[in-house]
Structure formats: C-alpha cells, structure tokens
C-alpha cells in the first residue's frame, strides 16, 4: 500500500495531492477481507484529509444504518455537528464504518452486516463497538476515524487494533447526529495512529453546539500547544482495583509502561477506586435503561424498516422491532425495560445510579491527588471471532477498565503500549479530570514519543 497512508495526516497532507484517492484505493483493496466499511463514498471530494465515520453518526451523502436491519437504507436529512465541523476543516468523508448494532457490543460481531476483522489477525475481532473505525485506521485505510463511546467503544477497539483511541469529556463534543444509545454516557470519540492527530481533530470537533443542550460551554483549549511538554513531575495514579488481578503478558506490559513513564520523570503511586469493580454492573443497568427509552423511536412508523406482515398499529411496533433488532439489542432493551419496570426500579436503576454517584466521588478524590489515573485499556488482547458470542457476560467484562470513564464523564485515551507474544497489540489507558484533555494528550504524546509502537503496521 501507498506509503502516504503510513504517515500521520499531519505530515502526509503536506506532501501529497492524491491523499483521498490513496485512501479509497486502500479501502477497495482491503475491505473485502476486513469488512471495516459498510458504505464507501463515490462522490467524496478529492481534496483534504480522508476521514471515516462510524455508521451511527449521521451523514447526508451516505446511509446511516447503525449496523442494524431496522435502519437499512436510512439516509439522514442532516449531518452530525462533528461531521459538519470536519468537513469545514477540510476532511473528505470517504466512508462509514462497521459497528456492533446500535453500538451495543465489544467485538463488532453484533453487526447485522457481518463482523469486522482485526487487521493484526483476521480470525480475531477488532473490538467494538467502533471496530470498523479502529480496523480502518490500523490497516492504514484512513488516517482518522470517528467512533462513539458509551462504555469504551472507541478505546477498547483502538487497544485491540493497536491505534490511539480517545474519549473526550462528556459534553466536550456535540452529540447532535450521533444516534442515541445512552444519553448520559454517549460521547463521540476519535481514532488515529498518533496522539498529535487526535489532538488536532479534537480541536476541530470540540465545543458547544446549540443543537445539543448537554454540549459544554467550557472553553476549548488549544490541544496542540504544549503537546511536547512531557510528564516530568506529573502524578500518575495506578488504579489498584484495575491491576491487582492482572496476570501474564498484560501485567508485564503494563508494568513496562509504568517504567517508561517513571523514566520520563513521572511520579507513579497506587490509588484505590473502591467502586471500580462494580463498573460493569452499573453500566449494564444505566446504559440499558437509557437505551430502552432511546430505541423506542424505532417503531416502523417514521423511518426504518416496517414489518410486511403487520396488520394493526400494534403489529407495526412489535413485529418491526422483533424483525429489525438483533439478539444483543433485544437483550439490552429487555434488561433496561426490566430495570425501569415497576417493582424493580429501586433495586436496580436507582441503586446503580447511586453506585455511579459514589464512583464519581471516588474519581474526584483521586483526581485531587493525581493528574492522571492509569490502567491497561483492556484485560486481554484481541480474542477470536466467536469466542464470546454465546457468553454475553464475558463479552461485557472486556470493558471493565473503560466503562468507568463513561460513568463518571472524564476523558480517557488508549495509547499503544506494545505487543504480546502472538504479535497482538496491547494498550495503556490514561484517564484525566474533566476537561483536562490537554494534559492527557500531552502525557499520551510523551509515552508515544518514547515508545513509537504506532510505527509497526499490521501484516496485511
């Protein structure tokens, strides 16, 4: 493949005139084996930086399916705010990426349009739910992709594909045009090969948007300034609940990452987040409760696919949803409906929200003492396709280190930290206090500059 796609866009865009063409050619060549893209643009502007967009973020010039049969062929009347801002910046949207249906999953196997594959080993998952975005960047099909995060759906696939994945602070990026899954957790995230690229793209898409009343009016920092400032004297807290049970290569890799940070002059100390082990339990109540409400809009009336056998209005709802949703989406809507139902609300939804409030308290205490909190991004490297599809709970536990940042709202970034013996990528997660994306990117950049794992490319 073209060398230009091996470079960060911050270098490549200065050097070439056929950047978008190179990207479209790479997609054409690699997508049959990776299934990272659901739609490829035939009319992309040939100028600018080629960018891929997760297919639950709306674009007017291509379909937006959310990886679901129920939205097959849906064409949004408007662009998401993040997409609009990327276009004004000079991005050319080359395609829409594969995902777990409605962003519900950690492997991209729950896509109605077939699983995406991991570029490092096509028998393995790319992670999820933004697996198509992570695979597309890892395979050098595009330099930048947007994903979305509800419990780690950008960071976890970025980790499994060996690329950078960032979740900004809740509200930092407008959710207008991001098809809602869990509105108190959802946030658009960024996948790139390098930290510098992520910093530039964040500067483009961040900021208040009148269309999203939860988007923050907090000032947007210049994320490129001081990126090279290093981590000397900065305080990193190692979340003991995240690492005490780790074993083998993931443990060794994490210890190595800490040693790198220490050598760069950072101070490293243990910190306790007692509620961390409950993150998945809290997440699957809160996220699914919100999803059960948000996905009620898919009823076969205003958009999407209507069941052909529906005779009454009630049939239109029940049959369209029964036929249109996949098993994982049904499972989550069912769990959420249960948690909100009369008689169970207090024991499930209200309790999960109270544990979440306690977790927020734990994090704010930790951020009073530390600049950053660190864990591995995932408890293991990429698993084989099919390994967890019959065991939803074990799939869910892949998000144990990523879900807390969504629950408390803080920014977090996954940065490549090396490879295991099988040659699969491993990843370091750095979390920071709300709106501290600037320092977080600076820390990630320092680690990346020292280790340079992003330069290794998958054997395609």
């Amino acid at each position: 493949m073209s060398d230009v796609l091996d470079l960060p866009f911050t270098d490549a865009r200065e050097q070439v005139s056929d950047y978008v063409d190179a990207s479209l050619r790479a997609i054409e060549q690699l997508n049959p084996s990776l299934n990272a893209f659901l739609h490829v643009s035939d009319g992309a502007s040939l100028a600018g930086v080629p960018v891929a967009i997760k297919d639950n973020i709306t674009t007017t010039d291509m379909p937006t399916t959310c990886g679901s049969r129920i939205l097959k062929g849906f064409r949004s009347p408007y662009d998401a705010t993040a997409v609009e801002r990327l276009r004004s910046w000079g991005a050319s949207i080359v395609g829409k990426t594969n995902l777990d249906e409605f962003a519900m999953g950690s492997s991209t196997e729950h896509s109605a349009f077939g699983a995406a594959k991991n570029p490092w080993d096509v028998k393995r998952v790319p992670g999820g739910s933004s697996g198509g975005s992570a695979a597309a960047v890892a395979a050098r099909m595009v330099p930048v992709a947007l994903g979305s995060e509800t419990g780690g759906s950008v960071r976890q696939p970025a980790a499994l594909c060996g690329v950078v994945g960032m979740k900004p602070t809740y509200g930092r990026v407008s959710r207008w045009g991001l098809v809602a899954f869990a509105s108190s957790l959802d946030q658009i995230g960024i996948v790139t090969k390098t930290v510098r690229e992520a910093a530039e793209v964040l500067g483009v898409i961040a900021g208040h948007d009148p269309h999203d009343s939860t988007s923050s009016t907090h000032r947007v920092d210049d994320y490129m300034r001081n990126l090279e400032g290093g981590v000397r004297g900065m305080r990193f807290g190692v979340v003991i609940e995240g690492v005490e049970k780790l074993e083998g290569e993931v443990r060794a890799n994490f210890d190595h990452a800490l040693a790198v940070l220490r050598d760069l002059g950072a101070s490293i100390e243990d910190v306790s987040i007692p509620t961390l082990p409950y993150a998945i339990a809290v997440y699957y109540i809160v996220a699914n409760a919100e999803a059960s409400a948000n996905l009620s809009r898919f009823d076969g009336v205003r958009y999407g696919v209507r069941s052909e056998r529906a005779k009454t209005l009630e049939d239109v709802y029940v049959d369209s949803r029964g036929e249109g949703f996949g098993d994982e989406v049904k499972r989550r809507i069912m769990l959420g409906t249960f948690a909100l139902s009369s008689g169970y609300y207090d024991a499930y939804y209200a309790r999960a929200q109270r544990v979440r409030a306690k977790m927020r308290h734990d994090f704010s205490q930790a951020f009073a003492k530390f600049d950053f909190l660190v864990t591995p991004t995932t408890p293991e490297s990429a698993f084989e396709i099919g390994a967890k599809t019959n065991d939803p709970l074990s799939m869910y536990l892949n998000d144990i280190f990523t879900a807390p940042a969504n629950l408390v709202g803080c920014p977090a970034i996954a940065v490549p930290s090396g490879f295991d013996a099988a040659g699969l990528p491993l990843s370091l997660q750095i979390m920071a206090a709300d709106f501290a994306e600037g320092p977080m990117l600076r820390a990630a950049f320092a680690f990346e500059r020292e280790t340079n794992y992003w330069r290794r490319r998958p054997p395609l």
């Binding site: 009343s213 339990a281 009454t312 409030a357």
Partner: protein
C-alpha cells in the same frame, strides 16, 4: 435474580418486541445470568449518595422557532407516506 419465561414475556410486551417461546426461554436464561452478576451492587454501601446528583440541572434555552426538516428528506425515509403524512394502519373504527 431469576427471570422466568412469564416474566420475560411481560418485559417483551412492555418493550414492544415480538418474541417466540424458544426466544423467551433463551432470553430468560441470559437475563438471569446477567442480573445475578448485577446483584452484586446490593453489597455497595450507597448511604449519602443520591440517585440524581445535585447540581445536574437540565440546561434551558429560549423557545424560538427554527426551520423544520425538509419534507422531501423526511418522506424519503418513511415506510409509508401520503399527502405529507406518515401512514399507519387504521387505529379507530377498524375491522
């Protein structure tokens, strides 16, 4: 928390999702496994932590009119559409 087939049927009806008997059985078993895991939340002491954190006020804005979506673009996505309206099976005075 054990979910029975009848409980799964009740929830599926609330969620407006068509599900046959084998699907209900499978769903009941999976929900039981997941909710049993979630039941560990009962061991957390949440005294002093509210369901909704103080200060999380809903942002307000002025109620000013905006241009509506282009009708043609809405129609393009509608499963059934006639004379500017979404069409659904008759609700009142049906057969």
């Amino acid at each position: 928390m054990k979910i029975t087939r009848d409980e799964a049927r009740r929830i599926a009806a609330l969620a407006r999702i068509e599900m046959d008997e084998p699907a209900l059985d499978r769903m009941a078993a999976e929900m039981t496994t997941i909710l049993t895991y979630i039941d560990q939340l009962s061991e957390v002491d949440v005294e002093g932590f509210a369901e909704r954190a103080a200060g999380e006020a809903t942002p307000m804005r002025d109620d000013t009119p905006h241009a509506p979506l282009d009708r043609d673009l809405v129609e393009r996505n509608a499963p059934a559409w006639q004379d500017g309206f979404f069409v659904v099976p008759k609700v009142i005075g049906g057969e």
